[in-house]
Symmetry: C2
Subunit: 597 residues, 2 copies
Amino acid sequence: MVGVLSDLTLTAGGLRAACFPLFRMTDMTNLSRYFPILDWGRTYDRTALSNDLIAAVIVTIMLIPQSLAYALLAGLPPEAGIYASIAPIILYAIFGTSRALAVGPVAVVSLLTASAIGQVAEQGTAGYAVAALTLAFLSGGFLVLLGLLRLGFLANFLSHPVISGFITASGILIATSQLKHILGVSAHGHTLPVMLGSIVEHLDQVNWTTVIIGLTATGFLFWVRKGLKPLMKSLGASPLLADVTTKAGPVAAVVATTVAVWLFGLDSAGVKIVGDVPQSLPPLTMPGLSPDLVQALLIPAILISVIGFVESVSVAQTLAAKKRQRINPDQELIGLGAANIGAAFTGGYPVTGGFSRSVVNYDAGAETPAAGAYTAVGLAIAAMALTPLVYYLPNATLAATIIVAVLSLVDFSILKKTWRYSKSDFTAVAATILLTLGMGVEIGVASGVILSVLLHLFKTSRPHVAEVGLVPGTQHFRNVNRHSVETDPEVLTLRVDESLYFINARFLEEMVQERVADGCAIKHVILMFSAVNEVDFSALESLEAINLRLKEMGVGLHLSEVKGPVMDRLRQSHLLDELNGQIFLSQFDAWRALQKQ
Amino acid sequence: MVGVLSDLTLTAGGLRAACFPLFRMTDMTNLSRYFPILDWGRTYDRTALSNDLIAAVIVTIMLIPQSLAYALLAGLPPEAGIYASIAPIILYAIFGTSRALAVGPVAVVSLLTASAIGQVAEQGTAGYAVAALTLAFLSGGFLVLLGLLRLGFLANFLSHPVISGFITASGILIATSQLKHILGVSAHGHTLPVMLGSIVEHLDQVNWTTVIIGLTATGFLFWVRKGLKPLMKSLGASPLLADVTTKAGPVAAVVATTVAVWLFGLDSAGVKIVGDVPQSLPPLTMPGLSPDLVQALLIPAILISVIGFVESVSVAQTLAAKKRQRINPDQELIGLGAANIGAAFTGGYPVTGGFSRSVVNYDAGAETPAAGAYTAVGLAIAAMALTPLVYYLPNATLAATIIVAVLSLVDFSILKKTWRYSKSDFTAVAATILLTLGMGVEIGVASGVILSVLLHLFKTSRPHVAEVGLVPGTQHFRNVNRHSVETDPEVLTLRVDESLYFINARFLEEMVQERVADGCAIKHVILMFSAVNEVDFSALESLEAINLRLKEMGVGLHLSEVKGPVMDRLRQSHLLDELNGQIFLSQFDAWRALQKQ
């Protein structure tokens, strides 16, 4: 033992041998904390440049149809999707801390945008586009505010099950919302029953040419996703090539259907097409800031911020961990906030770090946020030069790319997993899915959050309390119901497996009163505090009440194994002065002192 | 040791020697669980009868002016206060579990009633009285529902500091609301600034005769409360006599001022008097149940139910503990619910178990809920026979009794106590007081509840995490920052002092990633779970993510001292199959196995 110990470091103060991982926030100067670009920019070299450029080309090609499609989903003109990918990417490159995250329009945020601004303006009007800018501005402002106040933890209110349920339900809502483009009908609604009802009502308008284009594109894209990649791999293609080809599937569908519409003049047969898209760099725009508009969009903006932030941070954290890098969630808030404010002033709409685009960026070898900036340049060139090429692009093709992309988000396995693991998590998922589908995204996600908090509080409101006794021959105390242990009819020891706070303070009072009323020989009650991490003021008052009541009954109240921070608190109160008993360092000390005094 | 042990009971299954306390819910049959009257009624005898009768006489005398005054506070005709004390008391005697609780109108609930129905009807109209019945009905229905669903724990959302702050602020609001009666002016408002502003606006209406009556009554009642009791005690009166005399002070003030008004015809000098009160038993009334009214009063009704329930249960529990009795909070919900429904159909308004009337009842020797029933009979006689006697009773006297009663509720010491004990509890109190005074009772108490929940969640969102090392020569592990301990640069042990759930799941991921990034020699991470009482699905997924990331870095993840219930859960998951490490029963086992493998 001594031989082994001599090899170890004996620390006081938690000092560890210094070592230098790839990327450490703590090394940064104060300025580069707020401008991470100063950190990675210093060491930018030719290799990083070429890797970033290659990644940018791949991502740009993938983003063109995706941006158009998500703009359609948000109910905005197609160019809004491209504009929303340019300034935001550059701003995130300056302020963000993730090296691989690609910021821009994403499916869920586009849906939330459509749902929010659909309530204040008619789709296709100028007011609708202005509301989108306002939403981006408010959402960006809120993110920056949270970042400056270091309140990133608020995003934690969205539990994993609630997010999973919400994403699954959103995927279904998004796919359903695109059905009208595949069918060529004009339907409306932001909940599943309304959308389906509206589609059924308008079934007489179905345009069969559109249906053929839409179904062909959808089928093709599903095949690309499910069949092409394995095929290419079996033909010996490199994984990267297989992956890039798969991601380029939407581009192929776009080109093929655009050419078909142009060749056969299908637009005159009623196929709705993208039409004129202005050839221009992102314009300078002003979000509307009238009090009415701001009031109407504030809550949706907060919701979009939080959901976008959670999605973005999950992606960024996953990618950073792969290279043992770190991201700074509070700085991420500022990065995403800046990106959204940028979108508000350049004709865009709310953006966030997207999963698929970031993974493609990462897989394509992006080394620094500069890759994002090059992507922005690529998209700017596309916005200026390539928009005439999408004139004949049918909306049905864009709808098909959305449907295929979002159906991969739909994953009901979370229901099975949570059912097996914890019924309360299951309840939160199921409620989130049902309410999102039935009452819309905002009510759905808000109910999920509130329900998770209530269920958690409910669980801690009736904590596990074990009556413990001494395991013979040891100094250990275990549950009398699970183990054969020594007890003393005059000494009741209760181990409370929960922090004590207002939600369970009254329970504590009732529980002690009940247990003492059950055994009238009891002379001493010991509360064993080994798992009590906090005692708030309500619980303190309950302990005082318990102490008084036990005193009136002639029963002593003792505490054992109180943690340091809890003890520090209790010393600030009167409880210790008035305690009709003692505080023992260990339960064994308490037992030795009190049994058969 | 062995000699001592032979005296002890060796239990398996937590069996204790049976013994028979005075009153045990578990002995009851199913029927008497819902009708506790069947329990105590069986053993009712002559002694109990005479004790209960004496208590009833004392309480009746005290209740007559109090009931009139609280009706005035609620903005209702005076008889409503008496009616609200009759049927509810009898119904509580049948369904309630406390033996000393006296149910009827109380100050805080009267204020809440005035605030709630003031928003839907004009004071003095028939609609106002009907709204009061509706409020009582909804509140009763909600309480019964909670009771049947056994959801009494929901009342715990009101933390002690929030209740204290709310009661203090309510006391100030109530006293301020009575100033207009003392001054003889007509003012309005439900928040402190509005009430004070309105009084200042109407200062030109001040009736000086009313002021003299009001100030004299207030001064007299303060003297009775502060000076008379010590005086009588020093003159050798028994504590009970001193107490009863003190409580009868309002009766004396009522009699004296009534006689004065009648003798000198002060009502014609502008002194507002109670006037005609119908001589009748409580009438049969119907609460209004139009959808609009129900919708407008539902939230206030829920609030009143919860606040009334909390007040009532605290009183009942305190009194029950003195006799080593128990109350059943879920059955209390049903008892109070029945009382409120009774009030709705007999011309009353929302009621609850009051502190002062219950304490008087208890001190006067009440043994069973029958004492309440006799009080009801006394009040019924008063309602039929004595109401003409209060014709000349000035409103200013009633206002004085209210002011003196509620100012004893005002207690700012909670601010000092919580400031010293915990800043987050202080924040909740201060916010509750300020918002109740400034924005009204409903917003005040709702904000207090929401703020306490948020502050609690915030505290658990960044739990205390200690890096621990071995205390040399023992098997104990302590914080490296507080103790001189042995550590191994290759083994990082983190003790997480909090249950792991969605609010801190992401923190856990970041924290582990940060600590591992800090020490690149680390080969093993041990999470010590001794204070982890729960791992929810979000935290499970975070543990899985941590495990994967550490695996990619070539670092092992181990768990030690996992509690039984937590381990049972984890076995339902994939974590244990995929864990890149082991589960150790004790931290010492983990240490021995992993150091310098």
